[in-house]
């Protein structure tokens, strides 16, 4: 027997009920096959021999003694680095439904000990803020029923596409066309864009699946979907392929991957869809990209031109430049020139109360092809928890304010605004996207939704999984470890991409038809929106309904 006094506990000693997820294990069902312990990405569970003492007292014979039962069982580890993340892979592989994590409804103490070894808590995922978002609460309430028979979503013809790229005012367009002068390039694209997720953040199989799916949407389904690369370049075979036209190449403050891109320019068969210059990210404003060493594999190191296995933190801003005005001007012009002024170039900034000043700057830059604003609910492969949860600006009011600013200047058609950050975070992707479009966005970028819907990402708003940063993604979506990413078949991902965009297309029609819209995307059709929150209605300048 060990006396209670001598049990060693540290300040960070925890028990399973202190952890955010508690493993429930049913010994009566367990076959001890070991699948759960081998699949667990954080080794939170282990098979172990246990001994149970059975006191024995024979009163008639006045004898006391013990018997011991030995058994094999699954146990949960309680040290911080091996705490259960709730991914549920154990239940997925268990043949007998004997095991699974359940969220700890109690206030769990682990939160106070996540900052080990002087490091603040870093994770992947998104802001863990469950519940309906402002976008989820917006309804489309201006139903057209006064005139000719309403539109039929199933039979009418709909124009759902949007424009990416700088658009000239009509007078200037006609003048330049007559004079044979340069007209800024534009792209007609589907308004739901696969947002920036880098080749590095995503596994090769996930990336390949997305690209296959995007190509299928364009070439077979006639849905002109484009996808953005994120920082970190693009595989050379893609750069030199005809699929490049479906890809928005991102340049960010680390400039990773751009050696390969620049070198590939002479061999490109077509132009990329656009160039995105990342100045900020909604999930971690003021912070640069971060690819942690776990994920810098041989392939990634080659693409990015760096040694293997080192952390790749990008600076928070484009360091070589003096101010954002100068940066925006020089970078947009440089990138435009690099691609012969045939490719739209636009900046991506994080949602912020200062977004309007960047916008006003872009309005005066004749080469700026749009602006993407990324709100606080956006996802990331790796960031400090504090940035994810508490830094940034929700997308709805930021986008609306910028749009109304353009309306006041009469420039709303010239600089297309794109919105990102939490679109579809509760699954309502088309509803969220269309609400933003009617608030003034020309289109939306979706990242986490795509990971969940096409890759089967296990993350949720309750802090589940959130380990994209460490390369142990149990589904193989954000891992560079072949043993993990081979779990993901690119063909299956591509199939899901097609499923997702076909259903978004149908849902867009189901929203637009009752509003009487089919000829053009209802950008800025704010008279169709209502919300049952008077303050939000006032802020967004839409109708309050109850």
């Amino acid at each position: 027997m060990v006396s209670v006094r001598s049990i060693y506990t540290t300040p960070s000693s925890l028990t399973y009920s202190d952890l955010p997820w508690i493993i429930q294990h049913r010994e009566d069902r367990c076959t001890l096959c070991g699948h759960c312990t081998s699949v667990c990405p954080v080794q939170a569970i282990y098979l172990t021999y246990r001994r149970q003492r059975m006191p024995k007292l024979d009163i008639l014979q006045k004898k006391r003694g013990n018997e011991y039962r030995h058994f094999v069982g699954i146990r949960q580890r309680t040290n911080i680095e091996k705490k259960c993340i709730g991914c549920g892979m154990c239940s997925m592989v268990c043949p007998n439904e004997a095991i699974g994590p359940v969220p700890n409804p109690n206030e769990q103490r682990a939160i106070f000990h996540l900052n080990q070894k002087g490091e603040a808590w870093k994770r992947g995922g998104r802001r863990n803020m469950p519940g309906r978002t402002t976008l989820d609460r917006i309804v489309f309430d201006r139903i057209s029923m006064l005139t000719d028979p309403a539109l039929d979503a199933g039979r009418h013809e709909f124009n759902l596409n949007t424009i990416l790229g700088r658009i000239l005012p009509p007078e200037e367009y006609i003048r330049r066309h007559t004079a044979g002068e340069w007209i800024p390039p534009t792209r007609e694209i589907f308004p739901f864009v696969i947002g920036s997720m880098s080749f590095g953040a995503l596994s090769p199989n996930m990336w390949l699946g997305l690209l296959q799916g995007v190509a299928y949407c364009n070439e077979v389904l006639g849905i002109p979907v484009v996808m953005a690369t994120g920082e970190g370049g693009c595989p050379p075979w893609v750069l030199k392929s005809p699929f490049l036209k479906y890809i928005i190449l991102q340049i960010a403050s680390g400039y990773f991957g751009w050696d390969e891109i620049i070198r590939a320019i002479p061999e490109m068969q077509c132009d990329p869809a656009a160039i995105e210059i990342k100045y900020g990210q909604g999930a971690k404003p003021g912070d640069g990209g971060l690819l942690m060493w776990f994920k810098v594999s041989k392939l990634i190191a080659r693409l990015r031109g760096v040694p293997e296995g080192v952390d790749l933190p990008s600076p928070p801003v484009h360091q070589t430049l003096y101010s954002i005005e100068e940066s925006v001007m020089k970078m947009i012009q440089t990138m435009s020139m690099a691609f012969g002024f045939r490719v739209p170039v636009y900046p991506k900034i994080s949602g912020s109360t200062s977004a309007k000043s960047v916008l006003n700057n872009l309005v005066r830059n004749p080469y700026a092809g749009g602006m993407l604003i990324d709100g606080i609910d956006g996802g990331t492969g790796a960031a400090y928890n504090i940035s994810l949860d508490a830094t940034g600006h929700p997308i709805a009011s930021c986008l609306r304010e910028c749009y109304l600013d353009l309306v006041a200047q009469g420039r709303q058609n010239e600089i297309p605004l794109f919105a990102a950050g939490g679109i579809g975070k509760n699954g309502n992707v088309t509803q969220n996207g269309m609400a933003l479009i009617m608030l003034g966005a020309s289109g939306v970028h979706i990242g986490k939704y795509i990971m969940q819907a096409t890759g089967g990402c296990l993350g949720n708003e309750m802090g589940r999984c959130n380990v994209c940063n460490t390369g142990i993604c149990p589904k193989g979506i954000t891992s560079q470890n072949e043993k993990l990413f081979r779990r993901l078949d690119p063909d299956d991902v591509a199939q899901r991409v097609a499923d997702v965009f076909m259903s978004i297309r149908t849902e867009m029609k189901k929203i637009m038809a009752p509003l009487g819209r089919s000829q053009s995307l209802p950008i800025g059709m704010s008279d169709a929106l209502g919300i049952n929150d008077a303050d939000a209605a006032k802020r967004l300048q839409i109708r309050y309904i109850c």
Partner: protein, 379 residues
């Protein structure tokens, strides 16, 4: 649902003729208002010269009329003729109608103003008068102030309004008359909300609903072009778009349909001017209407036009014979206006067509959107 009728004839005719034709289209119509626009006008009591300026509107009070008189006098507009209507107020629903204004003014000295400057001045005068009325509790309503254009708008059943205003007395005749029955779709009852709408010689009327109204309106207001105001009706943007296309962009009439209902990319890919039109569609993206709509327009030279939104399921019709043509939202309207025509030549434009009745009224011009159009300066 609005009912629309337009007649264009070599021989001037009374507006009452159109009102009786509108009775043929009364089914499905709520009789909430009437709007009339007359061009090529003549008065039996006055020898009107087509360059003289006509003010159309309503003075709701005597004070408003006096303000109008002093305003016009101060700006050198000399009143040549004041058409006195034989009003039977028992047939008019509204009570606050002191005087219906159809007044002819002598063209003042242009003082070296260019034609455009002069026309801007006429519009500014109308806008100032309208503002003056609005600033005084709406006691003065001004529909148009332009050479050779009379506009009448009133709340009620069209034929009853015609009787109430004595339009059956044949004292006014015109070569082109646009008539619209109904007050407003979706928005409040307001005299300014009644079609046809007018700006600088250009007028349109519409039936249908324009669901893209708010973004279009926001864009037009953002252009800061004088006269792009009002918007009590979602149909007013059609007039301003036509004004913008022809007078600001200096594009031919055929471009109007390319702007309000552009062709799809696949169709533009095979269009002879597809490259130009794709860019135009992008630049004018905020002017794409979303109907279903039939837009009927008239221009200062008495050209009449009918454009259909490509999803209109109940097309408007054009029919007639050399010298007399009619456009109406229902086929029975054509029948009532020009009964002695060859009905087999009636035309219902569908998704890609624009129909023009040229000022000579000899034959219809039908443009297809997939045909090339003359655009020497741009395409």
């Amino acid at each position: 649902m609005c009912r629309l009728a337009l007649k264009s004839a070599d021989t001037p005719f009374s507006p009452y003729e159109i009102l009786t034709a509108m009775e043929a289209m009364q089914e499905g119509y709520d009789g909430s208002g009437l709007g009339l626009l007359l061009r090529g006008v003549g008065f039996t009591d006055f020898n009107y010269q087509p360059d003289q300026i006509i003010l159309s509107g309503i003075a709701h009070t005597e004070a408003a009329l006096q303000r109008l008189n002093s305003f016009m006098g101060a700006r050198g507009y000399e009143l040549k003729y004041d058409h006195a209507m034989e009003v039977d107020s028992s047939l008019i629903e509204a009570r606050d109608r002191f005087k219906y204004l159809i007044r002819v003014y002598k063209v003042p000295n242009r003082d070296g103003l260019s034609r455009d400057q002069f026309e801007d001045q006429l519009m500014q005068t109308r806008l100032t008068l309208r503002k003056d009325g609005e600033d005084h509790g709406g006691d003065l309503t001004v529909f148009s102030f332009w050479p050779d254009v009379i506009m009448i708008k009133e709340v009620g059943w069209p034929l009853q309004i015609g009787n109430g205003l004595g339009l059956n007395d044949n004292r006014i005749k015109a070569r082109v008359i646009m008539a619209q029955g109904r007050q407003n779709t979706n928005y409040g009852i307001n005299l300014y909300a009644c079609h046809p709408f007018f700006i600088q010689g250009i007028s349109t009327m519409t039936n249908g609903e324009n669901t893209a109204f708010v973004p279009i309106k926001e864009w037009l207001i953002g252009k800061n072009i004088p006269g792009y105001t009002g918007y009590q009706s979602d149909s007013e943007v059609f007039t301003h778009i036509l004004h913008y296309v022809t007078r600001k962009l200096h594009l031919p009439l055929a471009a109007y349909k390319h702007i309000i209902t552009p062709l799809k990319t696949e169709e533009l890919d095979v269009h002879p001017q597809g490259d130009f039109l794709k860019g135009l569609r992008t630049s004018c993206r905020r002017l794409i209407i979303d109907g279903p709509n039939a837009v009927i327009a008239t221009l200062a030279d008495e050209t009449c036009m009918l454009v259909m939104d490509h999803k209109k399921m109940r097309p408007a019709t054009v029919g007639g014979k050399p010298g007399v043509w009619a456009i109406a939202s229902e086929m029975c309207g054509i029948e009532a206006i020009v009964p002695d025509r060859d009905t087999s030549l009636d035309f219902q434009p569908m998704r890609e067509h624009t129909v023009i009745i040229p000022p000579d009224r000899k034959e219809l011009v039908i443009w297809s959107q997939s045909d090339p159009f003359t655009l020497p300066q741009a395409a």
